[in-house]
C-alpha cells in the first residue's frame, strides 16, 4: 500500500530541499551576499510547481490499471510504462487552446472584416537583395505563376491582376497583418494556390496537437522552436544557390587545371627529346595519353615555329611506325605447342560431346562457345591452301582440287592461322565470326589464287593450269562460273551439263563464287544451295544408274562443311526428308533414304542424348527394323543396312536398340537352312510367305551392296548368294552389337537367345548347307559370345539402385516467430496486411480529425460566447451609464423643481 498523500508531500518537499534543517544566520548572510538566494528562489518556485502538478490528480492522466493481459503485450519490454502517466490533459488542452487562439481565433476575428492588398512582391522587404536581383526574381515569379495557371477563366485565380505598385512600393496600407509573400507561417489571408489550404492547416495543427499529446517534452520543443522557420521555397532557393556556387567553383578549378596542363604541354617536346636520348623505344608518355588536348596543337597555338613543328611531326611518325613493329603480339609457337593446343581443343570438344551424350543441359553461354569453337574448327578443316599435291589419288578421281578435308594435315598446317584458343572465353561470338569468315575467304582465295590469280577479276577468261591433271573436270570443259542453284530443280538444271565426276569441282566453284564474304545476299543463296545439295544426295542415290559413292561422299562432306555455317537450314532439310519418309514410305525406304540416313550419321553428332535430327533419324530406322515384317530378301538387306547404321550411330554412346536384336534373331532364324525347333528369345517371329531358307550350293560369299536393297527378279544362284550374304552380314552385325553392348546390365538376357540361335546354325544339318567362310564366322562369333556371356555371368550382380538418403517425413510444426510482438499483425497475406494497415490508419486519422473539429467547434462557440458576453457587458455598461446620466440629469431637474417648489412655497408665504 502506498504511503498517504501527506507523507508523500513531505517526502517530496524534503527531496527538493524546500524544507530542511534551518540554516544558521551566518549561512543566510553569506547566501544573501552571493546572490545564491535569488537563484534559489527561482529554483524553489520551479520545484514547487512541479510538486503541485504532481500532486494535482487532474493534472496527469493515469490509466486505472495496466493492460488486461500483461503477457500479451511487450510494451514493458520496449521500455514504455505499462501503468502510470498516460498523458497530461491539462497541458495538452492548454496547448491546443493556445494554438487555436493563434490560428482559428484570428481567422474568426478577421472574418468579414479584413480585406486588403497584399504585397507579394519578391524580396520587397529584403534589404539584402540588389535591385536587379529583385527585378529578375520578380519577373521569373510572374512567369511561373502565369505558367502554372490552369485556366484563364478560373474565377478563384485572380492573381493575374497583380499588385498595384508605385515605384516599387506597395500601395497597400502597411498593416500588421500584411506580410511578405514568403513568410508563410504568419500569413493568414491567403490565396488558395500558394498557401496551405484550410485542410492543410488543420492537419498541421493536428499534428502539432498530436505531438503535444505525447508528453511534456514535445510541448517544450514546440515552445523552444523559433517563431519563424524557413519555408520550403526558401530552402529550395538556398539549395539552388549553393549548387550554383559549387558548380562555379568546379568550373574555376577546372579552368585552373587546364591552364596548368597547357603550360605543361608546352614543355612536352623537350621532355620527349630527353626521353628519347635515353631509350630508343620509350613507353607511351603518360602525360600525352592523359591530356585532353593535343600537345602539337597546343604547341601550334602557343606559337612554336613551323619548321620545328614539321620536323617534330616527321619524327613522331617514324616513331609510331617503329612502335608497331617493335611490339610483337604473339610468340610463334613451336610444333609441340601447337599439337598440344590442338589436342586440348579436341579434348574440350570431346568433353562437350560427352556432356551432350549424358543429356546434361547446356547453359546458354556454353552454347555460344561451342558454336564459336566449331566455327574455329571449320578453318581447320578447310585449310584449302595445302595438301593438294600430296593427294594424287584424288586427282585421278577428278576431284583433286576439292577442298581437301584432311584433318590431321590441317591440324598441323593451318594451326598458325588460328586464333589462340585460350582467349576463346573472352572473345565475343561476333569477333569469332568475323575472324572465321576472313580465314575462310582467305583459305578459298589462296587456293584459287595459287592456280588462277585472276579468279575474281576475269572469271570468264580461259585459264589453263597445266601442272594439275584433270583439274578442270573430266572432259576439261567444266565452266568456271555457275548460277547459284537455290532449289533442287535449279541444281539439276545447272548440273545437267556437268559430268557426274565433275560434280564436286562444280560445288567447290559455286561455293567459292558465292562466298558470303563477297556479297551480302550470298549467305542466303549458299544456304539454299546447301539445302538443294541435301535433296540431291537422295536424288542421286535413287537414280537407277548408281552414281559413284566417292562423289556422294564428297557431296556429303560438302554438306557437312556447309552445315557448320547453316546448321538450321541443313537440319531442316534433313528433317523434311525424314518427315517425307515417315509420311509416305516408312516401311519401304529407297536407297536414297538410306544414303540420307548415313549422311545424318556423319554430319550430326549421333552420340547426343537428344538431337533434333539424329533422334528422328534413328527412330525412322528402328521403326523399319522393328515394324517391317520382311517378305523379300531385299527387305532383309535394307534391314541389315539400317542395323549397321544404327550400330554405327551408337558407336560412342553405346545405347541399346531392342529392335536390332529382334531383327538379327528373326533374320537368322528365317534364313537358317532348317527351322529351329524352338525359337529362343522373346521376339515376334515372322516367317515370310515364300520360303527363303538357305538351300546351299553357293561358292563364295560376298558383301551386300545397295543394289541388293531393291527388289528385283534374281536368278536362283543370285538369290542363294544374296541369302548367304545376308546371313553373313547379320552374323557380323551380331558380332558388332555384342561388342557395342558388352558390360551392359542385361547382356546375358539379351545375347543368350542369340547364342542359342547361332548354335542352331552350327548344327550338322545346317552346317552342310552353309559356305565354309560363313561357317567359320559363325563359329568365331559363337565362341566370342560364349566368352562374353561367361564374362557377363561373372560380372552379374543384383541391382542396387536405391542407395538414396531416406526421405524425411513431412513436418507440421507451426512457424515460430522470434521476438513476437502481439501488437503487430503477422498476416501471411501481404495484400490483406497492407489493406488492414491502411484501414487502421484511416480510422485513426478520422477519429483525430473528428476530435479536432469538435474541439474547434467548442472553441468557436466559447469564443463567440465570450465575445457576446463582452458585447453584452459593454452594452449594459453603456446602458447603465446612459440611464445614470439621464437619471442624474433628471434628478437635478427634480431637485431644481423641488427647490423651485420650495422657493415658491416660501414665496407664497
Amino acid at each position: 500500500m502506498p504511503p498517504s498523500q501527506l507523507k508523500r508531500l513531505k517526502a517530496s518537499l524534503r527531496e527538493q530541499g524546500i524544507v530542511g534543517p534551518q540554516k544558521s544566520k551566518k549561512q543566510k548572510k553569506q547566501n544573501a551576499q552571493n546572490g545564491v538566494n535569488n537563484e534559489k528562489r527561482v529554483q524553489r518556485n520551479v520545484a514547487l510547481t512541479g510538486i503541485r502538478e504532481q500532486f494535482n490528480p487532474f493534472e496527469v492522466k493515469t490509466s486505472a490499471r495496466g493492460p488486461k493481459f500483461d503477457v500479451t503485450s511487450n510494451k514493458t519490454i520496449s521500455g514504455r510504462v505499462t501503468k502510470g502517466v498516460k498523458g497530461r490533459p491539462g497541458v495538452t488542452k492548454g496547448l491546443g487552446e493556445e494554438n487555436r487562439r493563434k490560428t482559428l481565433l484570428v481567422e474568426m476575428q478577421r472574418r468579414n472584416k479584413v480585406g486588403g492588398i497584399l504585397d507579394k512582391r519578391f524580396g520587397e522587404n529584403d534589404p539584402s537583395m540588389a535591385p536587379e536581383d529583385k527585378m529578375m526574381e520578380r519577373f521569373t515569379q510572374e512567369k511561373l505563376r502565369r505558367h502554372k495557371t490552369s485556366s484563364a477563366f478560373d474565377l478563384e485565380d485572380d492573381e493575374e491582376a497583380g499588385e498595384l505598385t508605385h515605384m516599387g512600393q506597395s500601395l497597400s496600407l502597411d498593416g500588421p497583418n500584411i506580410q511578405d509573400d514568403f513568410d508563410d507561417e504568419g500569413l493568414e489571408l491567403s490565396d488558395a494556390e500558394d498557401h496551405p489550404s484550410d485542410e492543410e492547416r488543420q492537419r498541421k495543427r493536428r499534428r502539432s496537437g498530436g505531438s503535444d499529446d505525447s508528453g511534456p517534452e514535445g510541448s517544450k520543443d514546440e515552445e523552444d522552436r523559433p517563431e519563424r522557420k524557413k519555408s520550403k521555397q526558401e530552402v529550395m532557393k538556398e539549395l539552388i544557390a549553393k549548387s550554383k556556387m559549387h558548380k562555379y567553383e568546379r568550373q574555376a578549378a577546372k579552368d585552373d587545371d587546364e591552364d596548368l596542363r597547357e603550360e605543361l604541354d608546352k614543355e612536352m617536346p623537350n621532355l620527349h627529346e630527353l626521353l628519347r636520348g635515353i631509350a630508343p623505344r620509350p613507353a607511351p608518355a603518360p602525360l600525352a595519353a592523359a591530356s585532353g588536348m593535343n600537345p602539337d596543337r597546343a604547341a601550334l597555338l602557343s606559337g612554336t615555329d613551323k619548321i620545328k613543328f614539321d620536323k617534330e611531326y616527321d619524327l613522331r611518325l617514324r616513331q609510331m611506325a617503329q612502335d608497331k613493329r617493335s611490339a610483337p603480339t604473339e610468340r610463334t609457337k613451336t610444333e609441340d605447342e601447337k599439337m598440344e593446343e590442338e589436342a586440348r581443343k579436341l579434348q574440350e570438344l570431346e568433353a562437350k560431346r560427352l556432356r551432350r551424350m549424358q543429356g546434361a543441359p547446356e547453359s546458354s553461354d556454353e552454347e555460344e562457345e561451342p558454336a564459336a569453337a566449331e566455327e574455329d574448327e571449320e578453318e581447320d578443316d578447310f585449310g584449302f591452301g595445302s595438301g593438294i599435291k600430296t593427294r594424287p589419288t584424288m586427282a585421278e578421281l577428278g576431284i583433286d582440287d576439292e577442298d581437301d578435308f584432311i584433318i590431321d594435315d590441317d591440324l598441323v598446317a593451318s594451326g598458325s592461322e588460328l586464333e589462340p584458343s585460350d582467349d576463346e572465353d573472352s572473345e565475343s561470338e561476333n569477333e569469332a565470326d568475323d575472324g572465321e569468315d576472313a580465314e575462310f575467304l582467305k583459305g578459298l582465295l589462296t587456293e584459287e589464287e595459287a592456280k588462277r590469280p585472276e579468279f575474281l577479276t576475269g572469271a570468264n577468261a580461259p585459264i589453263q593450269e597445266t601442272p594439275l591433271p584433270a583439274n578442270n573436270g573430266v572432259n576439261g570443259d567444266l565452266a568456271y562460273t555457275f548460277k547459284c542453284p537455290e532449289s533442287h530443280e535449279e541444281l539439276l538444271d545447272v548440273m545437267k551439263k556437268v559430268d557426274i565426276l565433275d560434280f564436286p569441282l562444280a560445288i567447290q566453284r559455286i561455293r567459292a563464287l558465292y562466298h558470303p564474304k563477297l556479297k551480302s545476299e550470298n549467305k542466303a543463296k549458299l544456304g539454299h544451295f546447301a539445302v538443294s545439295l541435301v535433296d540431291h544426295i537422295s536424288y542421286l542415290a535413287n537414280q537407277p544408274k548408281q552414281s559413284p559413292f566417292s562423289i556422294l561422299e564428297t557431296i556429303i562432306r560438302h554438306i557437312h562443311s556447309l552445315a557448320k555455317t547453316y546448321p538450321a537450314e541443313i537440319a531442316n532439310a534433313f528433317r523434311r526428308h525424314l518427315e517425307e519418309i515417315h509420311n509416305s514410305r516408312a516401311l519401304a525406304p529407297t536407297p536414297g533414304d538410306l544414303v540420307l540416313l548415313t549422311a545424318v550419321g556423319s554430319i550430326f553428332p549421333t552420340s547426343d542424348h537428344f538431337h533434333q535430327v539424329v533422334t528422328p533419324a534413328i527412330l525412322t530406322m528402328t521403326r523399319y527394323i522393328g515394324q517391317k515384317i520382311p517378305q523379300e530378301l531385299s527387305d532383309y538387306a535394307i534391314g541389315a543396312y539400317l542395323s549397321i547404321l544404327c550400330l554405327q550411330y551408337q558407336r560412342l554412346s553405346k545405347r541399346y536398340i531392342p529392335e536390332l536384336v529382334s531383327f538379327i534373331q528373326n533374320t537368322l532364324c528365317v534364313l537358317a537352312p532348317t527351322k529351329p525347333t524352338k525359337i529362343s528369345g522373346d521376339f515376334p517371329y515372322h516367317e515370310p510367305k515364300t520360303n527363303i531358307r538357305i538351300v546351299g550350293g553357293t561358292k563364295a560369299t560376298r558383301k551386300l551392296s545397295l543394289s541388293d536393297c531393291i527388289s528385283t527378279d534374281r536368278s536362283e544362284a543370285q538369290t542363294e548368294a544374296l541369302k548367304i550374304a545376308i546371313l553373313d552380314t547379320t552374323v557380323q552385325i551380331l558380332d558388332a552389337a555384342a561388342d557395342t553392348w558388352t558390360g551392359k546390365p542385361a547382356f546375358v538376357e539379351v545375347f543368350e537367345p542369340t547364342q542359342k540361335t547361332l548354335q542352331h546354325l552350327a548344327t550338322r544339318n545346317n552346317r552342310s548347307k552353309l559356305h565354309a567362310d560363313v561357317q567359320a564366322k559363325i563359329t568365331k562369333v559363337s565362341q566370342k559370345l560364349e566368352r562374353l556371356l561367361k564374362h557377363a555371368h561373372l560380372a552379374c550382380r543384383p541391382l542396387e539402385l536405391h542407395h538414396h538418403k531416406p526421405l524425411a517425413i513431412k513436418t507440421s510444426i507451426p512457424k515460430f516467430e522470434d521476438s513476437y510482438n502481439p501488437d503487430k499483425h503477422y498476416d501471411p497475406d501481404r495484400e490483406r496486411a497492407e489493406a488492414s494497415k491502411l484501414k487502421a490508419e484511416h480510422k485513426r486519422e478520422r477519429k483525430g480529425a473528428m476530435r479536432e473539429l469538435r474541439k474547434d467547434a467548442n472553441f468557436i462557440a466559447r469564443e463567440s460566447l465570450r465575445e457576446k458576453k463582452e458585447r453584452d457587458a459593454a452594452y449594459e455598461k453603456k446602458y447603465k451609464r446612459l440611464v445614470a446620466e439621464i437619471q442624474g440629469e433628471e434628478g437635478r431637474e427634480a431637485k431644481e423643481y423641488e427647490r423651485e417648489k420650495e422657493w415658491r412655497k416660501k414665496g407664497k408665504k
Partner: protein
C-alpha cells in the same frame, strides 16, 4: 383423305424425278420406248382409281407383269413397284383386302383376287430386294407396305404385326448373297430406329438360325446376322425408351413390346443363336470386341455368355486378349469363378504382346487385374519380371507402357522392390558373387507365375533400358532408380504411343536453336580409309560394299 392426297402429291413429284433423271442415263434411241412404258405405267395406275368402279383392277395384274418382267428395264419394274405400292396402300387403307360384313359374293371374289395379286406383288418385291442398286428403295417400299399392313390388316385383332412379311424380308437380308448396302440400310434405318422392328427382327433371326430346315445355309447367314446385330448399338435402359414404333403401337399397355425384359430376351436369343454357330477368327474377334459394350447389356442372364467367353479365352493369341474384358466383366458382375485366372493371364504375356495392336487395351485390363494390393508379391514379381524381359525386344511404345506400370506395381507391393535393390550383406554371399557371378534366378519357361522365382531376380532389363536409344524412353526408364516420391503414374499418358506418334512429335517440333554439327568432318564415309591415315574403317564400310 388428306393423307392420301399428300401421298399422291409426293408420288407425282417422285415420278417427275424419275422421268427427268432417265434421259441422262439412257441412250437417246431407247428413251422414246422407255417413256412409253413409263407413261403406260402411270396411265394404268391412274385408271385404277379413276372411276369409282372396280373394273380397272385388272390393271394391277398388268403392272405386276411389268414388275416381274426381269429381262426388261429395271427402271420400269421399279416404277411399277412404286405405283403398285401406292395402289395397294390405297386399297388396304380402303379395306378392300379385308372381309367386310355384308359384302356380296362378287365382292368376296374380288377381294380374294386382290389378295392373290398382293401376294404376287410382295413376292416380286422381295425378289428385287436383294439386288444391288434397287435394293435400298425397294426396302423402303417393303417397310411402307409393312406399316400399312400392320395398320389396316388387323384380322380382327387389336394388334397384328405382319411377322410373316418381316420374316421374309429378314431371311432375304440374311442371305449371304444379299447386297450389303441393303442390309446396312435395314439395320441402321429400321432396326436401330424402331423398337418393334428390332424386337421382331431379333426374334426372326433367332428362329431362322435355329431352324433345322436352314441347316445348310446357316453358316453363310452368320456374317450377315452379325452385321445386323452389331449395328444395333443402343441398348434401351428403361421401359420409357421403348416408344419408337414403326407400325402403329399396340393399344394394350401390357403387350410384350412394352416390356424391356421381353426385348432383351429376344436379343439374347438372337445372340446365343449366333454364338452357337461355327465362326471364323475374325468374326469371333469382332464379337469379343463388342461384348462388354453392346452384347452383354442385352443379356438378361449374362452367365449364358460364359461358355462363349471361356472358349475364346482358351483359344490363345489375340482372341484370348480380346476375351479378357468379357471374362473380367463376368467375374466382376456375375461372380464368375475362373480357375487359375492369373496363370492364364500370365501365359498371355508372350513375345507378341508388346507388339500387338491391342497392347493398350491389354494394359488397361492388366492394370485393373493387378490393382489389388492383396495379390501375393511372388505373383506380382513374376508379372513384372516377365514384362521387363519382354521389353528387351519391344518397340519404344511398349517399353513406355511397361516402365510406369512397373513403377506403380513396385509402389503398391514394396516387397517387390527387392528386384531393384538387393544388397548382399553376408560375407560368404559376397564371396560367392565375387567368385562365381550369378545367374538370373528367374525362369522364363515356367508357366506358373507363383513358381518363377522372379522375386529373387533383379530388373537388369530396365537398367539396360536406361541407355535406350530414344532419349525419352531412357529418361523414363530412369524413374526406376530415382527415389520413389511420386505416388503413381497415370497409365493413360503412356499407353497409346507408337513409332508414328513418336516420330510425329519429334518432327512436329520446330528447330529453334541451331542443331549441333559434328565438329570433325570424316574423311571417308562410304570408301575405305587410306592405309596411311591411321583411321579405322567404319562398321558400314567394313560390312557393306559400295561400288
Amino acid at each position: 383423305m388428306p393423307g392420301i392426297v399428300s401421298k399422291t402429291g409426293h408420288s407425282v413429284k417422285r415420278k417427275r424425278d424419275t422421268t427427268e433423271k432417265r434421259p441422262s442415263k439412257r441412250a437417246r434411241s431407247e428413251s422414246s420406248d422407255d417413256e412409253d412404258t413409263q407413261a403406260e405405267i402411270l396411265l394404268l395406275e391412274n385408271e385404277i382409281f379413276e372411276s369409282n368402279s372396280k373394273k380397272n383392277y385388272n390393271n394391277i395384274a398388268k403392272l405386276i407383269q411389268i414388275l416381274n418382267n426381269d429381262g426388261d428395264d429395271a427402271d420400269d419394274s421399279f416404277l411399277a413397284a412404286i405405283s403398285l405400292c401406292r395402289v395397294f396402300t390405297k386399297l388396304i387403307a380402303a379395306g378392300e383386302l379385308e372381309r367386310k360384313q355384308g359384302n356380296s359374293e362378287k365382292d368376296a371374289v374380288v377381294m380374294r383376287w386382290l389378295k392373290e395379286r398382293y401376294a404376287q406383288y410382295k413376292e416380286g418385291l422381295l425378289g428385287l430386294l436383294g439386288q444391288e442398286g434397287v435394293g435400298v428403295p425397294v426396302l423402303t417400299l417393303c417397310m411402307k407396305l409393312l406399316k400399312t399392313e400392320g395398320q389396316y390388316l388387323l384380322n380382327g385383332q387389336d394388334y397384328n404385326f405382319p411377322v410373316g412379311f418381316l420374316t421374309e424380308i429378314v431371311q432375304i437380308l440374311l442371305d449371304a448373297e444379299c447386297d450389303t448396302a441393303v442390309r446396312e440400310d435395314f439395320s441402321r434405318k429400321w432396326v436401330e430406329e424402331y423398337d418393334d422392328i428390332r424386337y421382331y427382327t431379333f426374334q426372326i433371326i433367332a428362329e431362322t438360325l435355329q431352324d433345322d430346315d436352314m441347316q445348310d445355309m446357316r453358316e453363310g447367314m452368320l456374317g450377315s446376322a452379325l452385321d445386323i446385330l452389331t449395328a444395333v448399338e443402343s441398348v434401351p435402359e428403361s421401359k420409357d425408351e421403348l416408344e419408337d414404333f414403326h407400325v402403329e403401337a399396340p393399344k394394350k399397355k401390357n403387350h410384350a413390346l412394352y416390356s424391356l425384359t421381353q426385348h432383351k430376351k429376344r436379343a439374347q436369343e438372337a445372340w446365343l443363336a449366333v454364338m452357337k454357330l461355327q465362326m471364323n477368327k475374325e468374326q469371333r474377334k469382332t464379337m469379343l470386341g463388342l461384348i462388354t459394350d453392346s452384347i452383354a447389356p442385352w443379356f438378361v442372364k449374362p452367365e449364358l455368355l460364359m461358355d462363349f467367353l471361356t472358349d475364346s479365352y482358351n483359344a490363345g493369341g489375340s482372341t484370348s486378349l480380346l476375351s479378357l474384358s468379357g471374362v473380367f466383366y463376368l467375374i466382376q458382375e456375375k461372380n464368375l469363378d475362373y480357375p487359375s485366372f492369373y496363370k492364364k493371364l500370365y501365359s498371355l504375356l508372350d513375345s507378341g504382346i508388346l507388339h500387338s495392336k491391342h497392347r493398350s487395351r491389354f494394359f488397361r485390363l492388366l492394370d485393373t487385374f493387378l490393382a489389388s494390393s492383396h495379390l501375393p508379391a511372388v505373383l506380382v514379381a513374376s508379372f513384372i519380371k516377365r514384362l521387363s524381359r519382354l521389353t528387351l525386344n519391344a518397340p519404344p511404345g511398349g517399353i513406355v507402357a511397361v516402365v510406369p506400370w512397373i513403377y506403380n506395381l513396385l509402389k503398391k507391393h514394396p516387397t517387390c522392390t527387392f528386384m531393384i535393390h538387393r544388397e548382399t550383406r553376408t560375407a560368404e554371399g559376397k564371396k560367392i558373387l565375387e567368385d562365381e557371378g550369378m545367374d538370373d534366378p528367374f525362369d522364363m519357361e515356367e508357366e506358373d507365375p507363383m513358381e518363377t522365382n522372379a522375386i529373387e531376380s533383379s530388373l537388369w532389363e530396365i537398367a539396360l533400358l536406361q541407355s535406350h536409344y530414344h532419349p525419352n524412353v531412357a529418361t523414363l526408364a530412369k524413374i526406376i532408380s530415382e527415389q520413389f516420391t511420386k505416388q503413381s503414374y497415370n497409365m493413360e499418358d503412356f499407353l497409346d504411343l507408337a513409332y508414328g506418334s513418336l516420330l510425329e512429335t519429334e518432327l512436329g517440333k520446330d528447330v529453334k536453336k541451331a542443331p549441333i554439327v559434328e565438329y570433325e568432318i570424316p574423311k571417308k564415309i562410304f570408301m575405305k580409309q587410306d592405309a596411311e591415315s591411321g583411321f579405322e574403317d567404319t562398321l558400314l564400310v567394313k560390312l557393306w560394299e559400295f561400288k
